[in-house]
C-alpha cells in the first residue's frame, strides 16, 4: 500500500500540452524535459510536483503525437503512476515501455481535486480514494514483465547481443 498526492486533470489532454512540440528536437536532458512538463496546461505543476505524485485524469490522456517525451517528462518529474479514465493507445504503450504504470480507472478523476491523496495497493489491485475502492485492471504477462523490469530498455539490456563486426 502506498500513499500518493494527486494532480487532477480533465479529458483529452494531448501530448503537445504535456510536452510542447517546439522542444522535441532541441531538448535532450530528461531533467530539463521535466522542467517544462504540462507547461501550457498547469504552470504550477513543474515547480511543485514531488517524487511519488500521481496524475489522475479523464478520458483520452496523451492523445496526439507519439512523442514519448510526454511520458519521460513526467517520469523525471517524479510521476511513476498515471491514472486516467482512458489512455491514448500510443501513450499507454510509451508508459509501459518506460516503466511508468498506466492505470485505467474511469470515474476517479471526478471524485478528486489536485492536492488530495489516494492509496494504491498493487498486491490487492485496488486504488482507495475518499473511502471508495477502485479496481486496478490486470496486465498481460508480457506487459507486466516489461513494466516490472523498468521498461523496454532495461529488458533489452539483459540480452546477450552479438558483437559488431569490424567495419
Amino acid at each position: 500500500m502506498s500513499h500518493h498526492r494527486v494532480w487532477v486533470y480533465g479529458d483529452h489532454i494531448n501530448t503537445d500540452v504535456i510536452f510542447p512540440g517546439k522542444y522535441t528536437y532541441t531538448m535532450k536532458d530528461p531533467t530539463q524535459m521535466a522542467s517544462v512538463a504540462l507547461q501550457d496546461l498547469d504552470e504550477n505543476f513543474a515547480s511543485q510536483v514531488q517524487a511519488g505524485d500521481v496524475i489522475v485524469a479523464g478520458r483520452n490522456w496523451g492523445c496526439g503525437s507519439s512523442r514519448e517525451q510526454a511520458v519521460t517528462a513526467l517520469k523525471y518529474a517524479g510521476v511513476r503512476t498515471l491514472i486516467a479514465a482512458s489512455f491514448n493507445g500510443l501513450y499507454f504503450r510509451n508508459c509501459i515501455n518506460q516503466g511508468v504504470h498506466p492505470i485505467v480507472c474511469p470515474g476517479l478523476a471526478d471524485t478528486l481535486q489536485t492536492g488530495d491523496s489516494i492509496e494504491i495497493d498493487l498486491d490487492e489491485h485496488v486504488i482507495v480514494a475518499n473511502g471508495n475502492a477502485y479496481p486496478i485492471p490486470t496486465l498481460s504477462p508480457t506487459v507486466r514483465a516489461i513494466l516490472e523490469t523498468g521498461g523496454l530498455v532495461n529488458m533489452l539490456r539483459e540480452r546477450d547481443w552479438p558483437m559488431a563486426e569490424a567495419t
Binding site: 483529452h12 494531448n14 503537445d16 500540452v17 510542447p20 512540440g21 517546439k22 522535441t24 528536437y25 532541441t26 535532450k28 501550457d40 478520458r59 483520452n60 492523445c63 496526439g64 503525437s65 507519439s66 512523442r67 514519448e68 511520458v71 482512458s86 491514448n88 493507445g89 500510443l90 499507454f92 504503450r93 510509451n94 515501455n97 518506460q98 498481460s140 508480457t142 506487459v143 516489461i146 521498461g151 523496454l152 530498455v153 533489452l156 539490456r157 540480452r159 547481443w161 552479438p162 558483437m163 559488431a164 563486426e165 567495419t167
Partner: protein, 430 residues
Amino acid sequence: MSGHTFVEKALARAAHADSARAGDVLDVQPDLIFSHDNSAAIRRIFMETGAQRIARPDRVAITLDHAAPAPTTQHAQNHAEIREWVRQQGIANFFEVGRGICHQVISEEALVLPGEVILGADSHSTHYGWLGAFGMGVGRTEMAALWATGELWLQVPESMRITLTGHLRPGVTSKDLALFILGQWGADGGQYRSVEFAGEGISSLTLDQRAVLPNMMAEFGAMSAYIPPDQAIFDYLERNRQRDYTPLYPDDDAIYADDYIIDLSSLQPQVAIPHSPDNVHNLSDVIGQPIQQAFIGTCTNGRYEDLAAAAEILAGHHVAVRTIVIPASSEVLLRATRSGVLQTLIEAGATINTPGCGPCMGNHMGIPAPDEATISTGNRNFRGRMGTAQADIYLASPAVVAASAIAGAIADPHEILIQQQAINASGAIL
C-alpha cells in the same frame, strides 16, 4: 467460429502465427520500420540497450523531413548525426532533405505493400492503411527495440467498421469526411482500435483522397486504419515495388466492436476549430472568421490533387493573407511544376517551400505570431501545435483553405467558383 478482421489477419501473419484474435499479445516482425528527424534520439536509446547493429537495415527507412532544411545549428547537427548513423549501419532507405514527408515518400517508393505491417516512430503511421497495410505509430524506445531486434510486442486491437456508400458531392473531399468522423464520434472514438473502412464509396475516391482517411484516424485515437486495396492501388505500387505481396481482406463474418455507415453524398465541407481536431463544424457556421495565414501542405493534404484543388480556386485571384504551400514530396513538387499548378499558385501570391512538414508541428517556415489565426490543411490543431500557444489553428480541405486565403477570412470555395463561372460567362457574351 466467426471470421477475422483485417488487423487480426495482418498481425497474425507478421507474427508467424496461424491466427490471432483481438486481445492477443503477439511478437510482431514488421516488414518495414521507419523514423525521421527523431532518429538521432532513437540512436541514443538504441546504444543504451547494448545492441550494436541494426538487425535488418534493409527493412529500415529514415527521412529527413520534420525540420528540413535545418532551421538552426542544433537541427543541422541532429541531421548530421543521422547521416553518419545511416552510413555506419548501412540503412537501405534513406531520404535526404527535400525528398518529402515520411508517409508520402514511403508510399511513393512502395516500401510497404498491401497486407504488410509497417511501424513508424510517428503518430500518423496509421497512414499506410490507404495501401491496405497495417501501419502503427510507436515511441522512440520502441523504435530502438525494433532496430535492435526486428520485433515488437503488440496487442491485437478490436476493430470498428465504417462503411462508405454513395459519392462525395462536388466541393466535398475526403478531408471533410475525416473531419466529419472526428466530429461525430470524438477524438477517442476509435481509441486503440483498428478502423476498417468498407463499402463501394471507397472506389469513388481518388488515390490522393484515400490517403487522407487512415492518416487522420490518428486523431481518432486509432491504433491503425485500413482501406481494402483495389486495382488502382496495385497499379500505383507497380512502378517501384521490389517484392511480391498478397493483399489481405477481412472476412464477411468478422466481428466489429462498432459498425457505422456514412452516406458520402450527405456530407458538406467541414472545419475543425481551435483547439481540437474533433471540434468540427459545418463550413457554413464559421464563414467570415478572420485568418492571418493560410497553409496548404502536410502528410494529410499536401499531395498533387490538393495543390491542384487550391490552384483551381486561386486562379485569377490574389491572396489577402500570407499563403504557404509545401508539397508533401519532391514528386508532388515536380508534377505541380510540370502541370502549371505551381505557376498558378505563385501568380496568386502564394509562396512555395521545400517539401517536408514545414510549420505543421511548429518547427519552422510559417510559425504564427501570438493572436494570429491560421487555416491549415493539416491534421492537428492543438494549442501550440504550430509553435505558438496563443495562436488559433483551423483545419479544412485545400479548397476551403485557398478560398479563405483570398478572402482573409474563412470562406466557401463554391462561391468563388460560381463568381468565376459568371465572369467567364459574361466574358463570353461580351
